[in-house]
């Protein structure tokens, strides 16, 4: 019972983080029809920026905000410089390009920051709450992780639903040509979309790193889990991505707790294959099947 509780709570926290990463992938997929495999190393870089700031003796929260802001800038730069030329080209070009960026950013980080493991600080305690004589395996940082992801989701929802910019971004994603004719600066909206996605990705990077070790490839498996979560939700649906992330987090946590952590990627692969074979459009997508 205790182990089941521990496993589910760990899965819940992890699921929220995967949800954030999946959300970042979905944001980009909706606007540019590109799966950004470079999301993982981008989040890694911004986490390293936070780490440098904290290591210099500056408070955690300044590092936290700096990481998110640098994510915003990095996302915009990557879209402007690298992604713009392949937009509208065959999808394979964009996939290979983001993989190239994946390798480049990982290598640059290893050269600049070194490839050794560094521990990342947490702003809250890493001890579980005590209820009576039972220690619940939910730490302060876990609560913070869950809350911050929920807050970011609410903010995104508000942005897309209630603001002018959000409406323009949705319009650009829905139909570029018509939006352009109606006076929306579509290219700017795409850049903004990538920038926002990079912020959400950075958040997940910071949350994965908290209280754990950071090294240049620490996000590599997260991109797989994020992708599986996004596909689980249908790649097109932000709500689906969040639910997909939670389901995946719980599922993988069970595998990790009861079978073995080495088989977690295999479990993710199996889930992905089953979903793609049984329901390729994802559990929550309302997109119609595309034949061509």
């Amino acid at each position: 019972m205790q182990q089941l509780l521990t496993t589910s709570l760990a899965g819940l926290t992890l699921g929220m983080v995967y949800a954030a990463f999946a959300l970042a992938l979905v944001l980009i997929w909706r606007s540019t029809r590109i799966v950004n495999f470079a999301q993982a190393p981008m989040a890694m870089i911004t986490t390293y920026i936070a780490l440098l700031i904290v290591d210099a003796g500056i408070p955690y929260w300044i590092g936290f905000v700096a990481a998110l802001l640098s994510g915003l800038v990095l996302g915009a730069i990557i879209e402007r410089v690298f992604i713009r030329p392949v937009e509208g080209k065959p999808e394979m070009n964009a996939i290979i390009l983001t993989l190239g960026l994946f390798v480049v950013i990982n290598a640059v980080a290893a050269i600049v920051f070194g490839s050794h493991y560094r521990s990342f600080p947490v702003p809250f305690g890493l001890r579980g709450f005590e209820v009576g004589d039972v220690t619940v395996a939910l730490t302060g940082f876990d609560v913070f992780s869950i809350c911050s992801v929920v807050v970011v989701m609410m903010l995104l929802l508000a942005l897309f639903r209630y603001t002018d910019v959000g409406l323009k971004m949705r319009a650009s994603a829905f139909n570029q040509e018509v939006s352009r004719m109606l006076g929306v600066k579509v290219t700017g909206m795409l850049t903004l979309g990538w920038a926002l996605a990079a912020v959400v990705g950075s958040l997940s990077g910071l949350l994965i790193a908290g209280g754990d070790l950071v090294y240049p490839s620490y996000m590599d498996s997260v991109v797989v889990y994020g992708f599986v979560a996004a596909v689980l939700g249908g790649l097109d649906s932000p709500v689906g991505a969040v639910i997909g992330g939670l389901l995946l987090g719980l599922g993988l946590s069970v595998v990790s707790g009861y079978v073995g952590s080495e088989l977690v990627p295999l479990a993710a692969l199996s889930i992905l294959i089953v979903v793609l074979l049984v329901r390729p459009s994802g559990l929550f997508s309302h997109a119609t099947a595309r034949r061509v």
């Binding site: 590109i34 030329p85 390009l97 993989l99 692969l269 034949r291």
Partner: protein
């Protein structure tokens, strides 16, 4: 190809793709013997590395270039081939001749490739990429988890193969040189590569190759024309996986160790780099790509050391170069090295012809 009958020897030799490929293979074989006999053991080891990388890259370029499926999981298929070889050689050394072990490893990879291919055939673009990425990340974990069978993180070591007497005699007869174990491996790898490339070249020029290209260019049109799209995709995937399995089998004998750390995502992505650099679908390009994967890291690491970077930093320069290559090729020359040169050549020959835009699809009908 022109069907005008000509009695000249050249025309007759080059008449069918099979003859062209076999002729190319014979020339290649002569070059291989000449090169391997004239270099020392260290270079022989490097050429053996180039051989197995070439086999894997050749298989991947057929899948990606001819059939339009992107696999980021070929490192995982190499792992399947490598572990199969390691298990056979570890448990029963010298029971089976190495070529038989290599074939068995290919068979094991074919089985795994068929399963993954069946799933991948129903997917497209980013979905295949994501699924094969997951495969590349997942497979090393299996080897770690079942440590009793696969040796865990330490992996399985493989003894140096003994050179069969008949082979040593044959080489001595031809070149008057003795055959060391590393030279034998280099020969084995290059024979494997030549046979693989001849088969791939023929397959590409055959009905099956045309089917693959038709599916790549327009799956719906191909289906209307009566092609079983799913089957074409699965066969392409299986053929490609078999090549990776063979490559893994050679690899494990060269490095003499099958361990999870040898089959990371980096391996899969570097194979992709070689494919993209060479030009999708070009076997010559695959060979160039494999040569760069083999010889570039050492040069570039040396370069890094000479400008004052540490060992660890310099070791990262090779992946940096791979990634940069992927980015630059996509942005500047999407047809890859061979495709870009071929385009320039065609433009020079007929300046009036409109430039061919490849968009990563090679136009050539057969592969050399």
């Amino acid at each position: 190809m022109s069907r005008i009958s000509s009695d000249s020897l050249k025309a007759r030799l080059l008449r069918t793709p099979l003859r062209r490929n076999i002729l190319g293979a014979l020339i290649g074989l002569v070059i291989v013997i000449a090169v391997l006999e004239s270099v020392g053991p260290f270079r022989q080891g490097q050429f053996a590395t180039m051989a197995y990388l070439g086999i894997a890259v050749g298989g991947l370029t057929v899948l990606t270039g001819l059939n339009g499926q992107l696999s980021l999981g070929h490192g995982a298929f190499m792992a399947v081939g490598a572990y199969t070889t390691a298990l056979i050689v570890h448990d029963a050394p010298k029971l089976l001749p190495l070529p038989v072990v290599m074939l068995l490893s290919m068979l094991a990879t074919v089985v795994v490739g068929a399963v993954v291919g069946l799933a991948a055939a129903r997917l497209h673009g980013p979905y295949i990429a994501g699924a094969t990425l997951a495969l590349a990340v997942a497979v090393p974990g299996i080897a770690s988890f079942f440590g009793d069978t696969f040796g865990g993180e330490q992996g399985l070591s493989v003894a140096q193969p003994t050179v069969p007497a008949w082979f040593a005699d044959a080489v001595y007869f031809l070149t008057a040189h003795d055959v060391s174990s590393s030279k034998y491996l280099a020969y084995l790898g290059w024979f494997g590569l030549i046979v693989t490339f001849v088969l791939l070249g023929n397959l590409s020029a055959s009905r099956m190759g045309r089917t693959w290209r038709a599916v790549r260019d327009d799956a719906v049109a191909a289906e209307i024309a009566g092609i079983n799209v799913g089957r074409a995709r699965v066969t392409a995937f299986v053929v490609s996986a078999a090549c990776a399995g063979l490559a893994g089998s050679v690899m494990v004998m060269v490095v003499r160790l099958a361990a999870p750390s040898g089959f990371t995502l980096t391996l899969s992505l570097s194979l992709l780099t070689a494919v993209v650099l060479g030009g999708l679908g070009s076997l010559v390009g695959a060979l160039i790509g494999a040569a760069l994967l083999t010889f570039l890291p050492q040069t570039i690491t040396g370069l890094g050391l000479s400008v004052g970077l540490s060992d660890l930093q310099s070791a990262q320069l090779a992946p940096f170069a791979y990634g940069l290559t992927l980015v630059l090729v996509i942005l500047l020359a999407p047809a890859g090295l061979v495709g870009t040169i071929r385009d320039a050549w065609h433009r020079r020959r007929s300046p009036d012809a409109p430039a061919i835009h490849h968009e990563l699809h090679p136009k050539q009908e057969t592969m050399q």
